[in-house]
């Protein structure tokens, strides 16, 4: 595919050129970098660090209205969902882009989920080569790479004054066309520079774990008392699951407020006790021990069984944001060493 060069100071022009898209980009809000729909390219804040939430929510929102009921209890599609504009998500880290790859089979197979798929198909991911990984990043241990184009439509690499722009997919090509006015061709020197950066990136990842054989260990030691030790400090909050690019559990609720009745899909978290609470009052995962174990089991055993890869992209958010320092990498090591 084609390669371009984008002057950093013309980035806004490039974004402005994407008139036919709804552009989501990281913006700075109350001290956080979050992905939001921007109307003015100046709002964009190309901070790849400090993104406590993955862009997962652009395609798979935390609450999503599926149906609207009218006074006669007849269900209708909510306004604005059908025939919406194509979207661009700008400033995606490669691990998060890879996260969508993990989500896709979940929503495609068996029961194709139109709500997810429709948006997924009309959404373009513009990623950035991750030159400065977090202290807790471990993407290389789960098959990722900080400069991987996997899952992206366009990949940008920071060369200092310019971005090196690689078009990965045909969808990406379309975007490049729309912004062609501000794009130029890279020199071969710039090409080399870019490749050099890509080669260096994996070495900057400081946390590693050999995941080979983890799945069987988890299965083998499913009833080990060590799980209780590992989960002792967990407080059963939803931070790890809600910030995870690959977690996808949801709940369907009907809600009625002020005469508006909706059927909604809302994220759920396997870390909550209510997640598996039966109507009878029985709970097969009554304590945080079972719940924490389940999450690891799901990501590193079940996901491999189902889709052939671990359900984890190694973004490190669950480690960084866990208020009690439940450390996934450290825990995996403990299991591995059993």
């Amino acid at each position: 595919m084609e390669h371009f060069l984008l002057e950093k100071n013309r980035l806004n022009e490039f974004l402005s050129a994407l008139r036919n898209y709804e552009v989501f980009a990281p913006v700075r809000k109350v001290g956080l970098t979050v992905f939001e729909l921007i109307t003015n390219p100046k709002e964009a804040m190309l901070d790849l660090k400090n993104q406590p939430q993955s862009p997962k929510r652009v395609i798979f929102p935390q609450s999503e209205i599926l149906l609207v009921f009218d006074k006669n209890n007849a269900a209708k599609e909510p306004k604005g969902r059908v025939g919406q504009k194509p979207q661009v998500v700008f400033g995606v880290r490669p691990c998060d882009a890879r996260g969508f790859h993990m989500l896709d089979p979940v929503f495609e197979r068996e029961y194709p989920d139109p709500y997810y798929l429709q948006k997924r198909q009309s959404t373009l991911l513009v990623g950035f080569h991750c030159s400065e990984p977090y202290p807790n990043c471990f993407c290389t241990s789960v098959g990722g790479n900080p400069s991987s184009p996997e899952g992206l439509d366009i990949l940008l690499t920071d060369l200092g004054e310019q971005y090196f722009l690689e078009v990965i997919t045909s969808k990406g090509e379309q975007v490049a066309k729309e912004g062609a006015a501000v794009l130029s061709s890279p020199t071969s020197q710039q090409q080399t520079e870019k490749e050099k950066l890509s080669g260096m990136a994996p070495q900057k990842i400081r946390r590693t774990i050999d995941t080979e054989g983890i799945a069987s260990k988890i299965e083998k030691h499913f009833d080990h008392s060590l799980w209780r030790e590992l989960s002792g400090k967990c407080i059963s909050c939803g931070i790890c699951t809600y910030t995870c690019p690959t977690c996808h559990c949801f709940d369907i609720q009907d809600e009625r407020v002020r005469g508006r009745a909706n059927r909604l899909r809302i994220w759920d978290s396997c870390m909550f006790p209510e997640y598996t609470l039966h109507a009878s009052g029985h709970n097969p995962r009554p304590t945080r021990t079972e719940r924490l174990k389940n999450r690891m089991y799901h990501k590193f055993k079940q996901n491999i069984d189902l889709y052939g890869v671990p359900g984890c992209v190694g973004c490190g958010r669950c480690i960084t944001l866990c208020p009690e320092n439940v450390d996934l990498v450290a825990n995996l090591k403990v299991i591995k060493n059993l």
């Binding site: 009625r256 407020v257 002020r258 005469g259």
Partner: protein
């Protein structure tokens, strides 16, 4: 869940301002509603039949009535449900009369509001649960507070039925204001002559225990089971020994103003309020007795030792506890303080007196043995001024005192009788002679030459050694100055000064006029809003003697209902605890004003823990506990969070 909705027209009361047909249509489409009907008078027998029939035919589970206030007919409809075999608590009432059709002018908006109220009621009704009503035993005794004519009558009526009565009177003798009166209007009976036999009956009645010179200081419990604390003030005389011989008073050297005679004469420091006092027992005035103050006089003690030896200076204040099933309040009235109307010069001139002072002056046992003598002279010109402190916003008494017109007429008659030569003028605003024989009596007094002039006198002042009453004769439209030697102010009636205290002691309400509030002005005029507490006499509003007696007998009859059935149903709206949600913090225990909640141990799995537990007999159903519970474990029946929230949600919706 099947709901029936019943919408009342209340004649035109609701229908005039709420589109009932639209409301019925609206009700039909509400969730779970099986039938919705409207009817002219839902509370009538055919109206109730409608509900009962539907319950039977459609198998309704819950009933919603949109009609008048639940405070009006909740009981009526509950009975209807019960008779149709449905739990009476499966009823919800939407108040579309008092709080809708009667208060809004815009019919469309009133209808919209009625829709909301109805939707809220329907959504709550769906969540209502059948409740069980429990019965408790009733203590077969009654308390009567106040020993005036109303209290005496109520006590006698209850006692005659065979129940124990505790009668509490704050003064040393029963009798109240009536015993101070001379003659009674319009029949001119002697007040004491008709009252003293009843007083004696009280004193002798085997079922009446009289606490004179005592006050109620605390009341706990609820209908059927009140616990009352009575404070007995020391008389310093042994009631069982004193034979009222009066020797002590003859020896006592201290003279103080005689409050029974409204300070128009003196009495001794050891005294009996009046000769026919019940109990016939002397009492020592602790504020003036030299022995009690400085221990330097034992005159009475010495003389009494030679007789019955009844004097006992060691007496102390005593607290007595009694248990009763019902309570009658008959605390009576006080006279309006006429010094707050300085224009009448009561505080300046001896010959300006109040109506009650006139009663003592005219009474044969009074300070002048019944002769009308003022400042040593018989007055030649007497002026009566009506409505002093009644119908007067400026002193906060907007009401008519109901007795002044007639007692003034009576007093004018007494002046005419005793001073045939005197000129008598009555200044009035309106003469209200509404009772049996009143108008006839008014006619008679006018025929006796009493001049009635319409006008509210504006001031009384002195001219030489006489008084001048200045007023406009409004019928003539001219200013008149009437000279007088005696001016009688028809002072009005105000609630007894302890009314507020009684009200707070028993959690009763006062109406804006500060009298005690009855449960319903028309239909429950002798009930208070609290079950088991009844009102008699002037504590509830100004009344003459026959009205007081009638209300007292009515209160007695009402209070006898629980006593004679022996059981009361305790209200079902108690709190209950969902034990699995309770974390045993005890907030509800601390918040409960009735000590009705305690923590008790339960086993949950292998864990032993404490959870709250409600004593349903003590629980009054206020729901305070539910509002402090953080886990929502304690809830009030029929007012649970989810029930209230469902109403909130329904009121938040917009309906077409």
């Amino acid at each position: 869940m099947k709901l029936g909705v019943y919408i009342c027209h209340c004649g035109v009361n609701i229908k005039a301002n709420v589109n009932v047909a639209k409301l019925t249509k609206f009700a039909e489409q509400l969730p779970r509603v099986r039938v919705a009907r409207d009817y002219l008078y839902m509370c009538s027998e055919p109206g109730q039949q409608l509900i009962k029939k539907d319950i039977e035919e459609h198998g309704l589970d819950r009933v919603v009535v949109a009609a008048c206030s639940p405070r009006m007919h909740e009981i009526t409809f509950r009975k209807a449900l019960r008779s149709a075999g449905l739990n009476p608590h499966c009823l919800e009432i939407a108040n579309i009369r008092e709080q809708c059709s009667w208060v809004h002018e815009d019919r469309m908006k009133a209808t919209q509001k009625a829709q909301k109220l109805l939707a809220a009621a329907v959504s709550k009704a769906a969540l209502l649960e059948p409740l069980e009503e429990k019965e408790v035993e009733v203590t077969p005794a009654a308390l009567v507070v106040g020993g005036g004519i109303a209290g005496i009558q109520a006590a006698l009526d209850i006692a005659d039925t065979g129940y124990k009565v505790y009668l509490v009177e704050k003064e040393p003798s029963i009798g109240g204001h009536m015993i101070q009166l001379d003659k009674t209007f319009p029949t001119l009976d002697c007040s004491a002559c008709i009252l003293t036999p009843k007083m004696a009956d009280v004193g002798n009645h085997p079922n009446i225990e009289l606490f004179s010179y005592s006050e109620v200081v605390a009341v706990k419990g609820f209908v059927g089971n009140f616990e009352v604390t009575i404070k007995k003030k020391p008389r310093y005389i042994d009631e069982t020994k004193c034979n009222a011989c009066g020797q002590c008073a003859q020896y006592c050297s201290i003279e103080v103003p005689d409050s029974f005679n409204l300070n128009l004469s003196k009495r001794k420091c050891i005294y009996i309020p009046f000769p026919q006092s019940v109990p016939a027992c002397y009492v020592i005035d602790p504020d003036h007795c030299r022995y009690l103050l400085t221990r330097d006089c034992t005159q009475c003690l010495e003389v009494c030792k030679q007789g019955t030896n009844a004097i006992d200076f060691t007496q102390k204040e005593e607290l007595v506890e009694v248990k009763v099933g019902t309570i009658v309040i008959a605390t009576g009235y006080d006279l309006f303080d006429v010094t707050t109307k300085p224009e009448y010069g009561y505080h300046l001139y001896d010959n300006v007196i109040t109506g009650l002072e006139f009663e003592r002056l005219s009474n044969a046992s009074g300070p002048t043995t019944g002769e009308i003598i003022i400042n040593g002279k018989k007055p030649k010109d007497v002026v009566f001024i009506q409505c002093v402190g009644s119908r007067d916003k400026t002193v906060g008494n907007e009401y008519c005192s109901r007795v002044c017109c007639m007692y003034t007429a009576k007093q004018a008659h007494l002046v005419r009788e005793k001073l045939p030569q005197a000129t008598i003028t009555v200044f009035y605003m309106d003469v209200r002679a509404f009772g049996k024989g009143f108008e006839e009596f008014y006619d008679r007094v006018k025929q006796e030459g009493v001049k009635y002039r319409r006008g509210n006198p504006s001031e009384v002042y002195r001219r030489g050694d006489r008084l001048v009453v200045k007023a406009e004769d409004t019928l003539q439209g001219e200013l008149v100055e009437v000279e007088a030697d005696l001016v009688v102010l028809a002072s009005g009636i105000i609630p007894n000064k302890q009314t507020a205290q009684i009200a707070s002691l028993l959690k009763l309400s006062q109406s804006p006029d500060r009298f005690l509030l009855e449960a319903h002005p028309k239909l429950r005029p002798v009930d208070s809003a609290s079950d088991g507490i009844f009102l008699a006499g002037c504590c509830q509003g100004p009344k003459d003697i026959p009205d007081s007696v009638a209300q007292a007998s009515a209160a007695a009859a009402k209070s006898l209902i629980p006593l004679s059935t022996g059981k009361v149903i305790i209200q079902a709206l108690t709190s209950f605890v969902q034990e699995s949600d309770c974390r045993g913090c005890g907030f509800c225990v601390e918040a409960c004003p009735f000590d009705a909640i305690e923590l008790r141990e339960v086993k949950r799995g292998r864990r032993v823990l404490e959870v709250a537990s409600v004593n349903e007999v003590l629980c009054k159903g206020c729901g305070v506990c539910a509002s402090v519970c953080l886990s929502g474990a304690i809830q009030q029946k029929s007012f649970a969070d989810r029930q209230i929230l469902s109403m909130v949600a329904a009121l938040g919706e917009e309906y077409a």
